[in-house]
């Protein structure tokens, strides 16, 4: 197995505030890594670090053997918050097409018929083909999220970064997206931040617990002491009502 993402003693500061502390992490090719942790624990920052949107204050980062930001086109990124201009006069089709843009042929660039074919296929796969000509301002949160996933997938990236990709989706769309991700995972490394323990337990191959520092990285099996450490709150709050359990059974069940 070869390592596609490598972090070595990485610290990230936003001004005086530390977001990540001494992170060392290796991610193998074709891994499906789930990242969990409390709000403000640095999960999004970790993804941005790999995407090249945030520079480390110290430590080293390699993505596909190069510094982050030097492997564009190979990294797909679906952000958690839409920092984009929802009012921009773009249709769904045009939005997803931008995923086919690469830095190499920007001069007099035109999207090719092949680009459109790829976009059409992705839209069909994600059940958003009917929305093709819809303006993005008219989309609901869940539809927009699927459009952004499509935009990342149409790049055919080697590494896919997902920041709570299914937060606005209903149960059906959610399981649909995860079955697609499972397919893609056969030749794509996926790194995903999620609060959804059910999703984490049933879909990921490995797990990382992050709260400024890395508390755990390994197989998706956890014990309550560790989760308590990461979240700093009773584990039951997180683990209950979950179809597939992440945790081994506790001594006693607590019914809420």
């Amino acid at each position: 197995m070869n390592t596609v993402v490598q972090l070595e003693n990485v610290d990230v500061y936003y001004g005086n505030m530390q977001a990540l502390c001494n992170i060392t992490l290796n991610i193998e090719a074709r891994d499906f890594l789930g990242i969990i942790g409390p709000n403000g624990g640095g999960k999004s920052t970790l993804l941005k670090l790999i995407a090249g949107l945030v520079t480390p204050s110290s430590g080293k980062v390699w993505v596909l053997g190069r510094p982050p930001g030097h492997a564009p086109g190979k990294i797909g990124y679906v952000p958690q918050r839409f920092n984009l201009n929802r009012e921009f006069p773009f249709s769904v089709l045009e939005t997803i097409l931008t995923g086919r843009l690469t830095k190499n042929n920007l001069f007099l660039h035109r999207y090719t018929a092949q680009d459109e074919l790829a976009v059409n296929e992705i839209m069909r796969r994600l059940d958003i083909y009917d929305l093709k000509d819809r303006q993005i301002i008219q989309l609901s949160g869940g539809q927009m999220q699927r459009v952004l996933i499509a935009r990342a997938l149409v790049m055919e990236p080697e590494i896919l970064l997902l920041d709570e990709p299914t937060a606005c989706l209903d149960a059906n769309s959610k399981s649909h997206i995860y079955s697609i991700l499972k397919d893609l995972n056969q030749d794509m490394t996926i790194i995903m931040v999620s609060h959804d323990m059910g999703v984490i337990s049933s879909h990921v191959k490995s797990l990382a617990c992050l709260n400024m520092t890395m508390f755990y990285h390994g197989l998706p099996e956890l014990n309550d002491t560790l989760l308590g450490q990461v979240y700093g709150c009773p584990v039951e709050l997180i683990a209950h009502g979950v179809p597939h359990r992440v945790l081994p059974h506790h001594q006693e069940e607590v019914h809420v």
Binding site: G15, A51, G52, L53, G69, P72, G73, I75, Y77, P79, N83, L84, N85, E87, F88, P89, F90, S91, E94, T95, T98, G99, L101, T102, K103, L106, F107, L108, H109, R110, Y111, Q135, R151, M155
Partner: protein, 268 residues
């Protein structure tokens, strides 16, 4: 009007200037409305006044001074924004007033009779010269070439800067280019509507155009057409009634926006 247009050179110049200015205005106006850079553009325009003053003081063409100040302030504001974590509005406000202050200062210390600054503040399309036309034409070519050659990159950048960075687009270069193009447009428009009135001519056409089209390119094209209509109408009214042309153009543009928005059915 048409007879007068054929027989008077200054009217022909004014008319061509209206067309050329509308091209720059339609393209850059659409960009600043989409990218929410309206106050930024106002700031650049007002800072340019410092350059006009400096031009007078040094005895060079004031518009050249204005261009220098406009480009310098556009890049300066973006640099300061990126470097300090202060709100852009703060830096903008300071540049805005500093430019005006420097302009007045330079004009005050220039020996001799004070020049007519009203035409720079409020525009005077009827005094546009051949040289002004040539400058406008060159600016237009630069703007059209820059945006036209990198159209898809610009659209992606305007839509989602973060994603543009992830896929490796040269985001900071696109940003600086956008700011420089705003500065050039401001210089072009100083002659037509003047520093104080520029913002309205930049924003009214795209705001109307957006109500009728859902395409970025069509917004630009429609804005250019509307700009030409507003400028020529303003020019005509100002010639007919002998009122200031800049004021006439802006009043027509803005009242058109209000009228159209009022009578347009709300979008479904």
């Amino acid at each position: 009007m048409f007879e007068a247009l054929l027989s008077y050179n200054f009217l022909q110049n004014a008319f061509f200037s209206a067309i050329l200015a509308s091209i720059a205005c339609g393209i850059i106006g659409t960009i600043i409305v989409e990218k929410k850079l309206i106050m930024m553009s106002g700031g650049i325009a007002h800072t340019a006044f410092g350059g006009i003053g400096l031009g007078y003081y040094l005895g060079i063409e004031p518009l050249i001074g204005a261009m220098g100040f406009a480009i310098f302030s556009a890049l300066g504001i973006s640099q300061l924004q990126n470097r300090t974590r202060i709100s852009p509005e703060v830096v903008l406000g300071m540049f805005w007033a500093l430019g005006m202050a420097l302009g007045i200062l330079f004009i005050a210390v220039t020996p001799g009779y004070p020049p007519d600054i009203t035409s720079y503040l409020f525009g005077d399309i009827l005094t546009v010269s051949r040289v002004d036309l040539l400058i406008t034409l060159i600016m237009d070519l630069i703007i059209v070439a820059a945006i036209g050659c990198f159209f898809n990159a610009f659209k992606t950048y305007l839509f989602d800067e973060e994603f543009a960075q992830v896929i490796g687009l040269p985001v900071s270069r696109l940003e600086n280019l956008t700011y420089v193009l705003i500065a050039l447009t401001v210089v072009v428009l100083i002659r037509v509507v003047g520093i104080m009135l520029i913002i309205a001519l930049l924003t009214a056409p795209p705001s109307i155009a957006r109500q009728y089209t859902n395409s970025f390119l069509n917004t630009i094209l429609l804005s250019i057409l509307l700009g030409i209509i507003f400028c020529s109408a303003g020019l005509w009214v100002s010639y007919l009634l002998d009122i200031p042309s800049g004021a006439a153009i802006i009043i027509i543009a803005v009242s058109s926006y209000f009228l159209i928005s009022m009578f347009k059915k709300p979008a479904p």
